[in-house]
Amino acid sequence: MAQAAEQSAEAPAILSEVRPASLPRAELVGHGRSFSWITAKICGIAEEKTPAWWWWCFGVACVIASFTAGGLTYLVATGVGVWGHRSPTNWAWPIVNFVFWIGIGHAGTLISAILCLLRQKWRTSINRSAEAMTIFAVVCAGIFPVFHLGRIWYSWFLFPLPNSNEIWQNYRSPLEWDVFAVSTYGTVSVLFWYVGMIPDLATMRDRFASVGKLLRAKIYGVFAMGWRGSSRHWSNYEMAYLILAGISTPLVLSVHTIVSFDFAVSMLPGWHTTIFPPYFVAGAIFSGFGMVLTLVLPLRAVYKLEDLVTQYHIDCMCKITLATGSMVGYAYAMEFFIAWYGANPFEGFTFINRAFGPYAWAYWIMVTCNVVTPQFFWFRKVRECTWLVWVLSLFVNCGMWFERFVIIVTSLARDFLPSSWGYFSPTVVDIFTFFGTFGVFSVLFLLFIRFCPIMAVAELKAVTPQANPHAGHAPAEESAHG
């Protein structure tokens, strides 16, 4: 007791000498840029005359996209046999590509929804383009399962619409759950993206009106829904945005969970594992951040957006890539451990076969890209070297495609019965169709850059220091707490 009393008596004397370290918060907008600078910078991108590089990129992207168009036309005209999947590998590239593209979309929703709930303010400069990426990735993903059906004119059978056979969908199948998960995901992503864009569309409407471009002002005005920045509207708007973020969070987690159910609910060794849902979600976010880096870094360089996408933003994205990449690495190790610990000979064989069988090349590409690549992000020097980050992000994209390939193809190619084993090789139609989806994605993304505000202008203004209404009353240090 006496000791305690002594301590408490001493405490104030010590405390008065203690100077808590002041950790300055990283600037979210560099060089203390003003509101009007932010408006002019972002809106200016969509307002300026279309630059020559845009036309070149658009042209190349259209040519690449035509590979998908050609591949799909040939497929519909001929039959799914033009793709390389044969028994026993009846799910191959189309499903690999589907999971790959859906996974990429997940970072967009993570940035816009989960980071919004966690009040990570750095999301504001990348959320718009990441959400656009989500939508375009879902578009690319959606192509594959629909065309995998073969007779695409029956694809409406996926949805609960009455048909002439009067048979309904089988809701006991995860494949039907997937239809709902992916279509809900696509729809909600579009809604979230659009609602976030309304105030910025109003800004563009007003800017076009003030320079006398009335037709453009009308078009943007229609989409801006007559937004006028009323505080009563902002109050409801912020609530709606928060709820959308709140429901998008379980949505994004559920989508890749349900995608993983497509595999996990089956009885195939290598697929039938409980680790799949969290493992797929971590992988999806990992691949998505890879794609965000791939897209945002060139945008930042081309449009000189260093004050809006600062080094701090790149650091944050690299660290999330590192964290999710390590989770994926842990999942690979844990899968192996459980295959051994579970003592199921078929399961054990599948994993040995993945790492050392005929697809070992794919497995080790996957491990190198997904487990080794992100470890470079531990180093500040690497994170500060923009071109290197960009190159590493390409490895992440590549590795995550191989992950899906390894999971899907190796498990199917060698299952229970050695007499029915096979080796899958893609056909040129497979390759062209997949290659072309990068063109489809790029075409959509380039159109987005030309016509939409590529960053959330209103949200960016709200995270600047001058947006804080209490800043004028207190010294800068104290107001940081308020």
Partner: protein, 177 residues
């Protein structure tokens, strides 16, 4: 100026000035008034004395509707209307009906939230007296405004103008109705 103006508008240059002006207008007892800002300002709801948004009610209704729709739809299709044996599984179970119902919960909540937000805000409305104000184009860029409507019972052209002046507003003007 028109015979019957919509109200008075005052311009403010920064968020702090707008917040203090909002507190004064609130304390003066006005009801039909509004602030205009290019982005949501932290603490302005309170300064204006706004009640909590009603949007969540729409969201909740949407979510419940979505979940019930999912469950009912699956029960109706797979058990009631055309029961089909697949893999010896039950015709209906809330367990396998859950993922689809879950997705529909989210889908319906999203639509209800956005629809509710537009309904509560009375949007889209492309013609509003505030939008006709000549400097309003900077209201989505970098300026802040307070608008007090004429229909407010406390509205009085001279007194209201004085209040806005005292609150630090500049370029006080009448809005055409």
């Amino acid at each position: 100026m028109a015979e019957k103006p919509y109200g008075l508008i005052a311009t403010f240059d920064d968020t702090g000035a707008l917040l203090r002006a909002a507190q004064r207008v609130r304390d003066a007892g006005y009801r039909d008034w509004d602030c205009i800002s290019p982005f949501p300002i932290h603490g302005l709801d309170k300064a204006m004395g706004l009640p909590r948004s009603r949007v969540p009610r729409f969201s909740l209704a949407g979510g419940i509707t979505g979940f019930c729709t999912g469950m009912t739809m699956i029960w109706y299709m797979d058990k009631f209307d055309y029961a089909l044996t697949v893999g010896g599984k039950p015709f209906f179970s809330p367990l396998f009906a859950f993922p689809v119902s879950y997705e529909l919960t989210i889908l319906f909540t999203a639509f209800a939230t956005i629809g509710g937000m537009f309904f509560v805000n009375r949007l889209p409305r492309h013609h509003h007296p505030v939008l006709n104000y000549e400097h309003m184009r900077r209201g989505t860029d970098d300026l802040f405004f307070v608008v007090i409507e004429r229909r407010d019972p406390r509205y009085d052209a001279a007194n209201t103008r004085e209040l806005l002046e005292q609150a630090g507003g500049r370029d006080i003007a009448e809005l055409e109705g």
